[in-house]
Symmetry: C2
Subunit: 293 residues, 2 copies
DNA sequence: ACAAAAGTGTTCGTCTTACACCCATGC
DNA sequence: GCATGGGTGTAAGACGAACACTTTTGT
């Protein structure tokens, strides 16, 4: 048992919301997240992360927060540690061929509960088949995937992904098996990158409810409906418009700019901006979203 | 700029609550947290952590959760990464000379708002002196340290510690200076261990409000007042007894065992246990604590 | 006029908070 | 009896969910 030099990788989940869709910056045609090894030249972990993302995607990171650190026990070769980060910014046109933005619902289609969720029916029936005989599995599947009315908790995305993995219903789970089923829900990613993405989404879905981080994803001026659509995109749920406005206005997060936005149809909407205090990291977001039934 | 093998340390904050005091397991006479390098023999990060804590303190970890990973840019020598963990268990008599349990309020005396908080007056006056001229500092100090009535938010312990550091009011901040002031609030620790401890406390104070983790700190059977005292110890605040009971009972977290506890005085209290479902990590703790005014 | 989106008022019920009070035991 | 802690009832008020409705633009 010897003290060993280990190899450390930095992995970024960079999120933006564009046209009502939550998007993730990927490389390798959507198969991987931007990542690279920590090097001696890097002044800090975050600095190293920024360097790699900029090199691989020509895109810069805005708000950054650490997600999780895990270790791979790679047989033979030395141990490898991965340190993953969540970053928020606004989408800029792709400047680099290898980098593309994808909707995160390409990877987790069942997590978009804004419109009728058709995929869930099939997932449930396949999970049921896999659970036959195990009361524990049945109960867990029900608690996680029961979208009917009250049941759906959008923050449990990681647990849902892990259950699908356990049941062999994601491509990654059957990778390397002698007879892979060639079936699985959602787009595949390399290594455990999709798991990291699920962790990032879970963190973000939880965080928007008590910290004002959405403004990192919005332009300086926006309408309340744009703000609502951004929140809906992240949470994967539809919100109640009148109550949403009041919730926001109550908390003094935003202020009117005086200008209005003339959209394609309907009455012009007042434009808002986030108040300076909010950007300075004070104030709290009123914990609950007014979910529409 | 070369890919470098790095050195990885594992650091544990092991917490227990004994006799109404939140306690931390330390080594080196309270000057350090149990820690050690990740080694090739360790099967996982957590396994390595458990090995080090058991070797250094002869104490085993219960519930474990990752806190944060950070990097030291040690001049000259290779880079060092620290991965810190929060662990919860019940205090067992010290089996090892080097290991002692200490109240975490030894390190953060100003964080115990259960009784009159005398220390705060001095902190505020010193912070005021340091802030003279800076409106930003004044505002921040007020927001963080204003214990009068509404102001106190026990989850901001890390921000408070960092502000004290910035103001040179903790021993660690003036360490290594040519003319250290030999003054500082709270007990000192080595490196940034006290900062890690603050992170752990902040995490735990936030978590008890929405996840049932307290039961890791309690015996199998307990009275509701014991449960309340444990929560109060962690939050550093007094809670409203009648409402606390109702809050707990509403959520079906606990069930009666049928037995009673005959204490030193007063009417015997019913003994409760946590329900099996809770241990199986389902259900939620009703987000807010009924703080007494 | 009508469609489409913005924005307001108000009710109803639940959850939070606070206060007041009664109960069971040891000394 | 009385001190000490255990335990319950209930009313005032804050807050959230839901519904109905008015306003302002473009075509």
């Amino acid at each position: 048992m010897v003290d060993s030099g280990v190899h450390a990788d930095l992995i970024a989940v960079l999120v933006a919301v564009t046209a009502g869709e939550p998007r993730v910056l990927t490389i390798d045609n959507g198969y991987a997240l931007p990542a690279g090894p920590l090097q001696t030249g890097h002044k800090s972990l975050q600095a190293g992360l920024r360097a790699w993302v900029e090199q691989q995607t020509h895109h810069s990171l805005g708000y950054v927060e650490q997600l999780y650190t895990f270790a791979d026990q790679k047989a033979g070769a030395g141990r490898s540690i991965s340190i993953s980060y969540l970053a928020l910014s606004r989408e800029q046109p792709a400047k680099h061929a290898g980098a593309i933005w994808r909707s995160w619902y390409d990877y987790f289609p069942w997590e978009d509960a804004r419109r009728g969720v058709t995929e869930l029916a099939e997932i449930r029936s396949r999970l049921d088949a896999w659970s036959s005989g195990s009361g524990e599995r049945k109960a867990r599947g029900n608690a996680l995937f029961n979208a009917s009315g009250q049941g759906w908790n959008e923050e449990l995305i990681l647990q849902r992904y892990e259950m699908l993995w356990e049941a062999g219903l994601v491509p990654e789970a059957v990778r390397g098996l002698s007879s892979p089923s060639h079936f699985g829900f959602g787009m595949e990613m390399t290594h455990d990158h999709r798991r990291i993405l699920a962790t990032a989404i879970a963190r973000l879905r939880a965080k928007i409810k008590y910290r004002p981080v959405v403004f990192e994803l919005l332009p300086n001026e926006f309408t309340l409906l744009e703000l609502q659509h951004t929140m809906e995109a992240l949470a994967g749920r539809s919100l109640h418009k009148p109550n949403f406005r009041r919730l926001i206005e109550q908390q003094d997060l935003v202020e009117e700019t005086g200008r209005s936005s003339f959209g394609l149809a309907g009455r012009p909407a007042k434009l808002f901006r986030f108040r300076a205090v909010v950007r300075a990291e004070r104030g709290f977001f009123g914990s609950k979203l007014p979910v529409v039934r």
